[in-house]
Symmetry: C2
Amino acid sequence: MTTRTEAVKAYLLDLQDRICSALETFETDTRFIEDAWTRPAGGGGRTRVIENGAVIEKGGVNFSHVFGSGLPPSASAHRPELAGRGFEALGVSLVIHPHNPHVPTSHANVRFFIAEKEGEEAVWWFGGGFDLTPYYANEDDCIHWHRVAEQACAPFGADVYARYKAWCDTYFHIKHRNEPRGIGGLFFDDLNEWDFDTCFAFIRAIGDAYIDAYLPIVQRRKAQAYTEQQREFQEFRRGRYVEFNLVYDRGTLFGLQSGGRTESILMSLPPQVRWSYDWKADVGSEEARLTDYFLQDRDWLGVAAPKAAV
Amino acid sequence: MTTRTEAVKAYLLDLQDRICSALETFETDTRFIEDAWTRPAGGGGRTRVIENGAVIEKGGVNFSHVFGSGLPPSASAHRPELAGRGFEALGVSLVIHPHNPHVPTSHANVRFFIAEKEGEEAVWWFGGGFDLTPYYANEDDCIHWHRVAEQACAPFGADVYARYKAWCDTYFHIKHRNEPRGIGGLFFDDLNEWDFDTCFAFIRAIGDAYIDAYLPIVQRRKAQAYTEQQREFQEFRRGRYVEFNLVYDRGTLFGLQSGGRTESILMSLPPQVRWSYDWKADVGSEEARLTDYFLQDRDWLGVAAPKAAV
């Protein structure tokens, strides 16, 4: 393990601690449980899961650090020449599924890869971001979420938010539904456009910003009353989350392909889900407003964001 | 459309009618609803779905007939040289998810492909099979299911059942769980080892056998009492069904990749599903018996079946 890897690892473990502590402030008795695991092929992780809490129905905040001799193709779509090389991957990945359909699901990930290249210096890059998946969405929440994202990016360049916001919209797109998974946020991969220290500072800014972005939304919405019908709509929309994660998500595929720990990878799946044939919201309903207005790759801050900046 | 395609199409439409009528005998008021659809890139289908019946919680029996100029790679793992060629695909595909956890989920599919090869005769093949996914399994049901499968295969060769039973076990394997999806049945693809008439007769035998295999099991189990806990176990196990279909199933991937009708393809997903972190059945429980005894690629008829005959 290099000095760089050590530094990233220390930050990620601390981030995992801070996120879990922050989320536990919403709970009365329920706490994250921890499973430490090792991977036969090299490395391991620290999975933290919370279930059936007062606010969080199911959530996982996972740290992992794995090594391997063959980088799976899903690890870097942009660097096919690295497939099969030795690698080291560290990350924190989290998904929070609240009970209340007025509280959005959130996802965040920060990760660091090093791939060995024979006779050359190791190639490293960061990836990550965070994105929000509301069921009954609020404009204020969406603007707040994107505002925090923008402020985290601002010190690193005027166009960073717009580029990674657009990449997020492109990435979290459910092709077979022609629908975004949520209202977006930030997504980036293969990040080494700046020197290591700057990239690492950026990753820290993103990891820390997740807490500032999500907690106020949970706080505002967690006590809002909801009906059984609204709960059913949430379970139906969670089906879209499953479809994205199992069919398209690079992190999920990387985990399953690299012999990762299945229960840690699939902690992202929602606790209760419904699929109804060809379900359609009534025209003009709150449910229709989710897809008609909110899930539209919208420019929440009035910042012109280039589409598909990948 | 050739004479062969016409003959296959007529059989498939009739099979769809007969299966729907047979399943409707279990219902009081609920009937299959039909959606006819066309595909912009060529072809279309006749989707039939039943929801919230007395016995069937969600089921789909779909006919489709699609043409295209580029065969998706998922269509034939054994014939990569055909990728991108013009093709025609016909099939009936069905999945039945009953309410009662004592009634297994069943899946069946029969399909016919023709791929054009420049300057050569068109290449055709059949595929299909049927498989059973119990929650609280019964040995008698498993033996009956496999006995009907064996009898359907017997006229076509002494080793046919054993080969396609083994292929089914290999195909319906959830790699990241190291667990079969169910207790198997038959699976075959790229079938053109006999002449067209024999292959077509075989497909008809398989399509017809599904009815004889499934209906007596539904009849026997549909009135059996169950608890809320047993229902939860069913919803949890349905999660495995979703994982298989979205991560591995060739038919699902072919459908989504070839611009198929999403709602018809994903009618296979169960109506209500649960995911709990690292859920484990109590040792010695009925729930543990499902995975410990039934989901073991078992030789139900005492016929030595070669593993992995693919």
